[in-house]
């Protein structure tokens, strides 16, 4: 419940900041998740959280506005906290193990917006693209 509230706060901030430029409501496709099965739900939650973390990590290079960059930083770390907790619910001491952290660099991965959207698409009915995105 707390994680949901945090995410609602994140969405609220982006809508407030973007106003008319925000995307419209997306319709979700969670048909791949068995909501009667704890592991199925937690696996999906873990995948989505890990994906969000990597997506935020990959966005910094596109951000020329320090306020927006600030938002990315502030939210990304809370997402990582969520990811850590959900991973622990599935498997003890997997919060930052080699299944998610590169053992050579010791850090989370960063995904480009294009790669991140590709992984988000299975969860939404709309198709989004990054055609107008430029490096800061």
């Amino acid at each position: 419940m707390e994680i949901l509230s945090h995410d609602q706060a994140h969405a609220a901030l982006f809508r407030a900041v973007l106003r008319s430029e925000a995307i419209g409501s997306l319709s979700m496709d969670f048909s791949g998740i068995d909501f009667s099965n704890r592991a199925s739900v937690l696996n999906a939650a873990r995948d989505i959280k890990d994906l969000m973390v990597s997506a935020y990590n990959g966005l910094g290079v596109y951000c020329s506005d320090s306020i927006h960059l600030g938002f990315i930083g502030k939210i990304a770390s809370v997402e990582a906290r969520h990811a850590s907790v959900i991973r622990e619910m599935l498997l003890p001491n997997s919060f930052a193990d080699v299944s998610i952290i590169n053992p050579v660099s010791g850090v989370d991965i960063a995904r480009s917006p294009t790669d991140a959207l590709m992984l988000i698409h299975p969860y939404i009915h709309q198709k989004l693209n990054t055609d107008k995105l430029q490096l800061a």
Binding site: G24, S64, V107
Partner: protein, 274 residues
């Protein structure tokens, strides 16, 4: 710059709730675009001049923190009687974090090298009590008493997230460095959440994986400074309590807050052996 549209998508997928649950927001937002309003981004104006802090100073700060944390955990793992024998998973947890930290040392050093930054002046001798290597500081018995150890481990991780966040904002305009710092920050936050859970499992039930208000659950001046300002509920000028109807506890948890360079050095300074 409309980068935030992708942020909006990310947040939307995660928090998906019926529009009626977002009543509080609607008055703030102009009518939504039609769903067909693609593509996702508008053009970013390139090359806008912004004040940036000296990347060298920021990276030296990051390396100092990484060294402090790495050597703290490494020394802790060498102690014979620090970790609870009945809970071997606790020691494994610290091994996971310590492994990441060791690898991060080279990661940060490589960032410095690629940015042409000299690392030779970065401190490498630390006083884990927080006493500057003189009289013992407030973190006494961190190598003997497990709960004291966990307090400092938690504070260093939460503080690391804040320090990195400050560096991310200040170093802006240097894309590769920003990305590297974001990657470091995410892993630091994973560690912080787990360490907070460990403290909660060891009797401090009120400590959650995220930071509620500005409470670190550690009563000394260094820790109070390390958490000061974490209770912020204003983001981009919006009072998110008002905007969402969520409690100020939840809103404060939903956003980690940056610490500026001066504040970070003031805290780090307590642990640097002089």
């Amino acid at each position: 710059m409309n980068l935030c549209r992708i942020l909006d998508t990310l947040a939307e997928v995660e928090s998906h709730t019926p529009a009626t649950d977002r009543r509080g927001l609607i008055s703030y937002c102009a009518p939504k675009l039609a769903l067909t309003a693609l593509p996702l981004f508008s053009f970013v104006k390139p090359g806008r001049a912004q004040t940036t802090e000296d990347a060298g100073e920021l990276l030296r700060m990051v390396l100092t923190h990484t060294r402090l944390e790495s050597s703290f955990l490494e020394l802790a793992l060498k102690q014979a009687n620090l970790f609870p024998v009945s809970q071997p998973q606790d020691r494994t947890c610290i091994q996971v974090i310590s492994g990441n930290k060791k690898a991060q040392l080279s990661f940060v050093e490589q960032m410095m090298q690629s940015a042409g930054v000299d690392a030779s002046t970065v401190p490498h001798q630390f006083d884990f009590t927080g006493g500057k290597g003189k009289a013992p500081g407030p973190f006494v018995q961190v190598m003997e008493d497990y709960l004291s150890f966990l307090s400092l481990a938690q504070m260093l991780s939460d503080f690391g997230v804040r320090a990195l966040k400050g560096a991310i904002i200040s170093i802006k305009g240097k894309g590769e460095l920003v990305q590297g710092l974001l990657q470091l920050q995410a892993t630091e936050a994973r560690h912080a959440a787990r360490l907070r859970q460990l403290r909660s499992e060891h009797g401090l039930a009120h400590i959650k994986p995220w930071i509620t208000q500005a409470a670190g659950g550690i009563q000394n001046e260094i820790a109070l400074n390390a958490y000061a300002g974490e209770d912020n509920i204003l983001q981009g000028g919006f009072d998110l309590v008002q905007l969402t109807g969520l409690s100020s506890d939840l809103i404060s948890e939903a956003f980690d807050e940056p610490l500026g360079t001066a504040g970070v050095w003031a805290i780090l300074g307590n642990f640097v052996q002089v």
